[in-house]
């Protein structure tokens, strides 16, 4: 039975400040700082830990009742001072919350005051401010807002350099490492932002690190304004909200906008762009990766052909996965997101012009109750998305292939690859294995070769 639906039930999104905290975690020597209640920082830390299994310190200005009445200026300044003293950060990434946004704190003004008032104290960290009210958008918007704010604060025009800026979107630490490897193999200098490949998936510590090693150095971000080009992943990310968009507008750094490179076609676009920008042919290693992937497609094609999938998650991930699934003959009968950019359907239609005939349905701004209602009608063979779909998967007996964020009921979410030929290979293997396992379990014979 269909019900009227005003409330969001089992949300398919998180709040704006979470994305900002993760992005700030990808800057070297940076402490994310939430201007709001204590709970926001604690909940977001807990949530990120469940996926990344790494300590993540997020400071908070700890609003009290008086703060809400008289404004957060005092708390923010004291908080910044305390964080500076205890963490000695190079950068503090301040993100707002629904509370500080609703009372209308002028955060840029407060930061200016702070720099004046405390200029004679310990070395002044670079202060970045991202506006991330939780009553707008979702975590992915906060992520992009923080990346853009970082570039806006730091980037300067200088003598043109050969470096390429890469804004990879909210991808896994393993993906970030792969992207760096690709640039290294092209012998092309890259400014990857954010880069939490080490801060959110690092080694053991012999001593306590207030801030874990790794991340993009502030000095590298400064020169983003004089880079040769920016590459930005994320098909629903508009220039007006993105870091590359800002750099193009402010410093004429050309913006190359791609979908997240998942699948052969989208990965090809990325590698071709790299060849164009660097003037070098792709290293043989990636030709090999691509050849192995095509070979694997051939070996596994029968398992996946015309399998019906419900796909959910951040819009950019959903678009990219749709491109990949359609090139291996799977049908994403529902492409769903809790995000609401207004662009999801348009981008999918650009990729797959005959999407309607193929039975591909697109819905944005949905929650898991909506998706489950759809699943009951669409009867997919698979769910593909983050761990949040598990309840629905279990209840309706539909296998779930986990990817993206968060993955908190399987091990190694931070080490999953999604991007490029290597990531696509891993995803393809996992998809095929899910089908095989299902068939094997369902078989009364117990075949040992599948």
């Amino acid at each position: 039975m269909k019900h009227a639906k005003t409330a969001t039930q089992n949300a398919c999104k998180l709040c704006n400040p979470l994305g900002a905290c993760l992005a700030f975690r990808g800057i070297e020597n940076c402490v994310p700082f939430l201007h709001g209640s204590q709970g926001c920082a604690t909940y977001i830390r807990r949530y990120l830990i469940s996926h990344y299994k790494e300590p993540i310190d997020i400071a908070s200005s700890n609003f009290h009742e008086e703060t809400a009445v008289f404004g957060g200026s005092h708390n923010l300044k004291i908080g910044l001072k305390n964080v500076s003293d205890q963490y000695k950060p190079k950068v503090i990434g301040v993100a707002t919350t629904c509370l500080s946004e609703t009372i209308g704190d002028d955060v840029p003004g407060i930061l200016r005051e702070y720099k004046k008032e405390f200029k004679n104290g310990s070395p002044m960290p670079i202060l970045i401010h991202a506006s991330t009210p939780s009553y707008q958008g979702s975590h992915i918007d906060g992520f992009h807002a923080a990346v853009r704010a970082t570039v806006t604060t730091l980037a300067e025009k200088g003598e043109e350099q050969s470096v390429i800026n890469l804004f990879p979107n909210m991808v896994s630490p393993a993906d970030l490492r792969y992207l760096k490897e690709i640039f290294a193999d092209f012998q092309a200098p890259v400014m990857l932002l954010p880069d939490y490949s080490q801060t959110m998936d690092g080694g053991p510590w012999g001593e306590y690190h207030r801030i874990p090693p790794g991340g993009t150095p502030a000095s590298a971000i400064v020169s983003a304004g004089s880079a040769a080009a920016s590459i930005e992943f994320g098909s629903t990310l508009e220039a007006s909200k993105s870091a590359a968009g800002y750099l193009e507008e402010a410093f004429d750094v050309p913006r190359y906008h791609l979908s997240l490179p998942i699948g052969i076609k989208e990965s090809d676009k990325f590698f071709s762009l790299l060849e164009t920008l660097t003037g070098k042919a792709r290293p043989e290693k990636y030709e090999d990766e691509r050849r192995r992937l095509i070979d694997a497609y051939a070996d596994g094609h029968k398992y996946v052909f015309e399998k019906k999938v419900i796909l959910y998650g951040e819009e950019d991930l959903v678009v990219a996965m749709t491109a990949f699934l359609s090139e291996i003959g799977m049908t994403p009968v529902l492409c769903a997101s809790g995000g609401k950019s207004g662009l999801l359907k348009k981008r999918i239609k650009e990729l797959i012009p005959d999407m309607e005939e193929l039975g591909i349905k697109v819905r944005e701004g949905v929650d898991f109750v909506d998706i489950e209602d759809e699943a009951k009608v669409l009867k997919p063979d698979f769910l593909i998305g983050n761990s949040k779909g598990y309840t629905m998967s279990r209840k309706n007996n539909i296998p779930l292939l986990r990817l993206g964020f968060p993955v908190h009921d399987r091990f190694g979410g931070q080490r999953m690859h999604h991007l490029g030929y290597r990531g696509t290979q891993e995803l393809f293997d996992r998809i095929v294995n899910t089908v095989i396992e299902q068939r094997q379990n369902a078989s009364s014979i117990g075949y040992t070769y599948m």
Binding site: A11, G39, R46, A59, N75, D85, C98, P204
Partner: protein, 453 residues
């Protein structure tokens, strides 16, 4: 190693027990310092954890999406029947709602959710901005209660209006509105409520079973495996037994004032405290000595099987050192005793929300050299763990990665645990988990133990 200093303004919340040194009271009950990475949460979190296990009510979070999203199915609180508590409902306030008010959205959400899920009651949690935008939650709740005929209870849990403890109180206020509205017919004179037991991994069932074996009726568990009807008749019990004292002492006191029900504090962790919590209840019913007899019987049977099974762990763990950092201080007392019973000493003990009396008692219990902290943060915890060469940290999800990064064992003693640690069987599970983590050979590769970086 880099010297780690304590934040100015935090020194009074830290104490190291030393002979011949004046013993000041530890400062506590304060709000967290701005800019400190507290392990605490907020008022909303306090309310949410207390009411979370009530399984036949809907829990609607009135605010932007985050607060509901981060608390969706996060606790290990299980139910023997309905599971509405495992769903996440939010009014998901948007910018226009912030400008024009969220009352209408709240009203429609409630009416629809009650129609769809047919709950026995609804709890409405107000989050930070609800107070600011001036929504009259009370009025909406009253209206919906009238229209639907079920209790619709506002929980005033705006995140910034106090600490987690204030959230406990807001939750208890909502419970107090329910208590006293049900029939107390057929409730035995030998009856109790268990307060502050949340049925994590089925712990309330284990405890309930012990009391029932003793011939004591458990009227309501607040709020583990919670049911609205049971809460409504809780005032019919003879005694309140308070387990998580931080969250529920206020409610016990209210029930004492309003209904004349006395309360005792207990703990179900470790052999010593578990046994005592059965004896203390039995002692309360001296006119029926069979209850004490049965309590002794339960303890002796359980200990008879448990004790030998612990010896393997004790042998391995003797001399190992533990650090404890948990939510409530009362749990710390039990853990110190439980750890001692398997041969371990405690080098750091702390809590998010302990009070003055708790810390005074902690000081008494602890060995010399033990560090005691209130409302600590990762920097401090790590400093003491390394300095004191702990082999184990007991805490929650937020503390776990600190332990693992530093290369020491960890035992999850928080709301999210999936294995019961309460009761006699819980003591076995606890010892096993500590043993499995502390004795694992993987730590040989940790830099702390000489592994290469």
């Amino acid at each position: 190693m880099e010297k780690i200093t304590i934040l100015e303004g935090r020194q009074k919340q830290i104490f190291e027990k030393k002979k011949g040194v004046a013993q000041p009271d530890i400062a506590c009950d304060t709000s967290s310092l701005s800019g400190s990475v507290s392990q605490r949460a907020c008022v909303f979190c306090g309310s949410r954890v207390v009411l979370y296990p009530v399984a036949d009510a809907i829990h609607l979070v009135h605010g932007p999406i985050g607060c509901a999203a981060y608390t969706w199915d996060i606790r290990g609180a299980v139910s023997s029947g309905p599971e509405l508590h495992r769903l996440s409902f939010s009014t998901d306030l948007q910018e226009m709602d912030v400008i024009y008010g969220g009352e209408k959205k709240l009203y429609h959400s409630l009416i629809e959710l009650i129609e769809q899920y047919k709950p026995k009651a609804a709890f409405i949690y107000s989050t930070c901005i609800v107070g600011l935008i001036g929504d009259d939650i009370e009025a909406v709740c009253k209206k919906v209660a009238k229209e639907t005929g079920i209790p619709v209870l506002p929980v005033h849990s705006e995140g910034f209006k106090g600490t987690k403890k204030d959230g406990y109180k807001a939750a208890c206020l909502a419970l107090m509105k329910l208590i006293g509205t049900g029939s107390t017919e057929n409730i035995s004179k030998y009856s109790i409520n268990i307060l502050g037991e949340f049925n994590l991994a089925g712990e309330a069932w284990i405890i309930r079973n012990y009391y029932e074996k003793m011939g004591v009726e458990v009227v309501a568990t607040l709020t583990g495996d919670g049911r609205i009807d049971a809460v409504r008749r809780a005032h019919g019990a003879t005694l309140n037994v308070v387990q998580c004292s931080g969250s529920m002492t206020w409610l016990a006191k209210e029930m004492e004032t309003k209904y004349g029900i006395p309360y005792i504090r207990v703990s179900y962790f470790g052999i010593e405290d578990m046994s005592k919590s059965l004896y203390d209840v039995a002692k309360y019913f001296p006119d029926r000595p069979e209850i004490m007899e049965a309590a002794k019987q339960v303890v002796s049977e359980e200990v008879k099987t448990l004790y030998p099974s612990l010896q393997k762990f004790k042998k391995a763990l003797t001399g190992k050192k533990a650090a404890i950092y948990v939510g409530g201080a009362f749990k710390t007392f039990s853990l110190i005793k439980a750890l001692r019973s398997i041969g371990m000493s405690v080098v750091l003990a702390g809590s998010q929300t302990g009070n003055k009396d708790d810390y005074a008692r902690l000081k008494e219990m602890c060995d010399e050299g033990t560090v005691i902290v209130d409302d600590s943060n990762p920097v401090e915890l790590s400093k003491f763990i390394l300095e004191k060469e702990a082999d184990l940290l007991i805490g929650g999800v937020k503390e776990r990665p600190i332990a693992f990064k530093l290369g020491i064992g960890f035992c999850d003693h928080n709301h999210e645990r999936k294995i019961p640690l309460a009761g006699f069987v819980g003591m076995y599970n606890f010892a096993l988990e500590v043993y499995q983590s502390v004795m694992s050979p993987v730590w040989q590769f940790a830099p702390r133990k000489g592994g290469t970086l």
